[in-house]
């Protein structure tokens, strides 16, 4: 007899709804769920390959223990009992010797229930959890939160008249979002795309602003200048609800379109035209995107300018504008599950990077939380929003400064590929006394581990989509089958490790479903089980309300929308939008410009992969077998490079090779290299590690903390000076 399970895809964090057909405990078919609001029955190529992933012969199915030297690639199968017992003993020993802060964790993007990770860490006593947070939405979110008490990340594009897509390419990274965008366009909304690359999304835009890589901040400042100078802002909203407008006006006076033309390469006329188009359309919205989090120094300054644009145009929390959801009022959010109150102040102060990057660590998080709790009753989770800074963490692993970091638990992450400065990350991971990796596959990072643990994927686990607990809605999905072999969910892992470390009273639930049922209870639907909620309700959207500041007030110290941010000021940062030169561009490093005449854009999502994933799934891999670097035909001709020839990409930090993709989508002095590349088919032995240093563009990127974003510690992946040359024979 067939059963139909309502599951959620984890192959990106859209979490599209799927229906799994199960016969006698075996999944026979996975299709898109037509009732799901995101994908409406559709699947991307990854989702359509769900069973290839589930049943892949290379999946890790049992706990593995290293038997040879670290990096020799030799493991033996052990029981969970033995693996968790060994890990526990080692953690106790390291904690006794160095203190709890010696344990760190690195995570990936939303393939996990991160509240469980933070709950474990708070109980263990370490503040050193990190993700790729600083380069993935968090700076934009936190700057917005400092300005108006939450992020306005839920733009109502179906009811808008103008959508600005800023450093975002949903046509390759978020297909349901792209469907909405095209629908909005049919409804008459104007689409403005800001991107140095002629992306798949730019190809569908009404107006594409081909900015120079890294110059987005200059563009945003010039938009502010035009909108204020020409009086195109919302007088009433600015007057009634904001503080700092005069200071902002003064500040942006010198950032004229002519000034920005020189920085962005876009004509002053076009800059002004686009600013008017955006400001005159009411309502309008600026979509979220993460490219602007990846400029290194100046990332949050750019976010300040975009937050100010949303504010002065009067689009904040209005129908068809930049809607600010706030937390779900009833269900128990990730923040409420984390037990942050149990981490002592003395341990919070030890968080790596907290003395330098104060907005994305405990100092800023505490200020934001105080204000959010006052207005919303809840804060944002510490996971992602309050983290150790990864570049500082890697340095502490290597140097033991300011204190030794000797252990790391990596979950849903491949740090050798996912962080800048891969060779430094390599050195860091090799310096550890204990490295535990939980993953679907043997990855280059897992090859360096002491224990590799088998992770259950989305068909084998329930998924509750809550956007890290910062949205006012949730969508619940069940598991199709129990985990195959000895795979486990991350909740199982943290719980079982916690039980061994004396945390039993804080883990009363037996499994994921019991936790989710507990979290849903306050909604009051009185379902008997989590599965019943999934089958009968599936989702809980808080009633949509607009202009919530009128009733609730604004979650900032002044109770107003702050164009001049008092939280940033209190943390010691410039409270107003300002220009920062890109840290690895010719403006900041003119002495390198001659040797490295080109500009590298390292990143951007591309189909069919998500981050560093899915290289093992053959059907997917065959769509894009090798890494590609986009090169303009003019440059290719000058360098005698033809399509598909291997090309060295060199920066002062390192060099890797990718295949030339000759295309006019990039400017003649810009190249765009793909990210996330490693080769599961290549030799596993250190230092080869599945070719992790061959084509992985993070080898070429520096993460020197002095080049990182001042407030959030974001490292720079865009606008990096580079050069290329054709790979020669034996080269």
């Amino acid at each position: 007899m067939s059963e139909y399970k309502k599951v959620a895809c984890h192959f990106c964090h859209m979490n599209c709804g799927m229906v799994a057909q199960v016969e006698d405990g075996v999944i026979t078919k996975v299709t898109g769920d037509p009732e799901h609001p995101f994908n409406q029955g559709a699947q991307c190529p990854r989702g359509a390959s769900a069973l290839d992933h589930l049943n892949h012969p290379n999946r890790i199915n049992f706990p593995l223990k290293r038997v040879g030297n670290r990096g020799a690639g030799q493991f033996e199968r052990v029981s969970w009992e033995e693996a968790l017992g060994d890990i526990t003993a080692k953690l106790v020993e390291l904690k006794d010797t160095y203190g709890a802060e010696t344990l760190s964790s690195l995570g990936g993007t939303n393939r996990t229930d991160d509240f469980a990770r933070r709950r474990f860490f708070n109980l263990f006593g370490s503040p050193n959890v990190a993700h790729t947070a600083p380069v993935c939405w968090i700076p934009n979110f936190l700057v917005e939160a400092a300005s108006y008490g939450w992020a306005a990340f839920d733009p109502e594009i179906m009811n808008t008249r103008c959508v600005v897509i800023w450093g975002h390419n949903p046509a390759t990274s978020y297909l349901p979002e792209m469907r909405g965008l095209l629908q909005a366009k049919e409804n008459g909304a104007k689409i403005i795309v800001i991107d140095p690359i002629f992306s798949e999304t730019a190809a569908k835009a009404d107006l594409w602003l081909p900015v120079r890589p890294g110059s987005d901040n200059a563009l945003a400042l010039a938009w502010l200048n035009v909108i204020i100078t020409e009086g195109l802002y919302d007088y009433e909203f600015v007057e009634e609800w904001t503080v700092g407008f005069e200071e902002l006006s003064e500040r942006v006076e010198s950032y004229t379109p002519e000034w920005a033309e020189e920085k962005t390469g876009v004509s002053a006329e076009l800059i002004a035209q686009a600013a008017r188009m955006y400001a005159a359309a009411k309502p309008a919205c600026i979509q979220w995107g993460v490219a602007t989090d990846q400029f290194g120094r100046g990332s949050s300054a750019g976010a300040q300018a975009r937050a100010a644009l949303r504010i002065i145009t009067g689009n904040l929390d209005v129908p068809g504008g930049d809607v600010m959801p706030g937390p779900h009022p009833e269900f128990i959010t990730d923040w409420e599950m984390e037990l942050n109150e149990l981490l002592p102040e003395s341990q919070r102060q030890k968080q790596l990077g907290a003395d330098k990057f104060k907005l994305n660590t405990w100092p800023g998080y505490q200020l934001l939380t105080d204000n959010m709790v006052r207005v919303w009753g809840k804060s944002i989770p510490a996971e992602w929003f309050c983290e150790a800074n990864a570049p500082m963490l890697f340095r502490a692993m290597i140097t033991s400064q300011p204190y030794p970091v000797k252990a790391c638990i990596v979950l849903a992450n491949n740090p050798l590929v996912s962080y800048a400065n891969s060779r430094l990350v390599y050195q860091a991971l090799k310096s550890l006394d204990l490295l535990v990796v939980m993953d679907y596959w043997m990855t280059p990072s897992a090859l360096l581990a002491d224990y590799v643990l088998p992770a259950a994927s989305w068909l084998e686990r329930p998924v509750m989509t809550t956007t890290y607990g910062v949205s006012d809605w949730l969508i619940a999905s069940e598991r199709a089958i129990e985990p195959m072999f000895e795979r486990k969910t991350d909740v199982d892992f943290w719980r079982e490790l916690g039980l061994r470390l004396g945390q039993a009273e804080y883990w009363p639930w037996e499994n994921d479903e019991e936790i989710f049922q507990y979290r849903l209870a306050p909604i009051g639907l009185e379902t008997d089980s989590y599965e019943e909620f999934v089958q009968c309700y599936r989702m809980a959207f808080a009633p949509r309300e607009y202009r919530k500041y009128q009733e609730r007030g604004v979650a900032t110290p002044s109770g107003k929308v702050e164009l001049k941010s008092s939280i940033l000021e209190q943390l010691g940062y410039d409270p107003l939008p300002h220009y920062v030169e890109p840290p690895f561009g010719s403006e900041a490093r003119p002495e390198q410009a001659k040797a490295y005449p080109l500009t590298l854009v390292a990143g951007g999502g591309f189909m069919p992969f998500f981050h560093s994933e899915h290289r093992e799934v053959t059907r997917i891999r065959l769509l894009r077998p090798y890494p590609r670097v986009a090169i303009n035909p003019e440059l290719a001709k000058k360098m005698s490079i033809h399509s598909n020839e291997w090309v060295w990409i060199e920066t002062p930090t390192g060099r890797v090779k990718q295949q030339a993709f000759v295309t006019s989508a990039v400017a003649p002095d810009v190249i765009q290299a793909e990210r996330g590349w490693w080769f599961p088919e290549k030799p596993t032995v250190d230092p080869e590690l599945m070719g992790v240093f061959e084509s992985n563009i993070n080898v070429c990127l520096d993460d020197d903390p002095d080049t990182c974003d001042e407030a959030c510690g974001s490292w720079c992946t865009r606008a990096v000076m580079c050069r290329i040359r054709k790979v020669g024979e034996g080269d």
Partner: protein
């Protein structure tokens, strides 16, 4: 009754979901794709550019050179207007691969017979849409009866002035495109 399809190139972003979903639906060998998606462009000089994507599979032509040229009668028209291949009759001569102007037929080396998109007629007969239509995140595909003037498919074809590809070749395809 004539099954046909409309593909909206204003919407297609070239994600290859149709390619992969089709492979899985039809249990195809890894290298075989009934439906391929080609990127056209970007054309022009940076930053004055245009680009679009075009999915291409069997066009189910009414005047099909593959049917006319098939020496064994394997390639034939079904009553629903689709072009079908009877694998038991196919002798693997590959003549159809030569005469198809769209290059959408493939030799399956395992079976020795030629294969191609079937327009998922088994699905259509049970009221489902084709697998590529179902999986399309951008909702760029519509399938229906070209002989029914009241069908949504025909309505959109007329409204958007959709045309077949290489119409001038006179093969009368059943797949229409809304040009970008």
């Amino acid at each position: 009754m004539r099954w046909g399809m409309l593909i909206d190139l204003k919407k297609c972003v070239g994600c290859h979901a149709c390619t992969v979903a089709c492979q899985n639906e039809n249990h195809l060998p890894l290298a075989m794709k009934y439906c391929k998606v080609y990127k056209v462009g970007p054309e022009g000089e940076y930053p004055n550019l245009t680009s679009y994507n075009i999915p291409i599979a069997c066009m189910h032509c009414q005047e099909a050179p593959c049917v006319e040229g098939c020496p064994s009668g394997a390639s034939h028209h079904r009553e629903d207007g689709t072009v079908s291949i009877n694998p038991k009759k196919c002798v693997g001569c590959r003549f159809c691969l030569l005469v198809c102007p769209y290059g959408v037929r493939h030799m399956n080396k395992e079976t020795g017979a030629v294969e191609k998109c079937t327009l998922c007629v088994e699905r259509l007969e049970t009221g489902e849409v084709t697998r590529c239509t179902e999986t399309c995140q951008l909702k760029a595909r519509h399938v229906g009866d070209l002989d029914d003037p009241d069908s949504e498919l025909v309505r959109i074809i007329h409204k958007e002035n959709a045309r077949p590809l290489y119409e001038h070749l006179g093969t009368k395809p059943s797949i229409y495109y809304i040009m970008p």
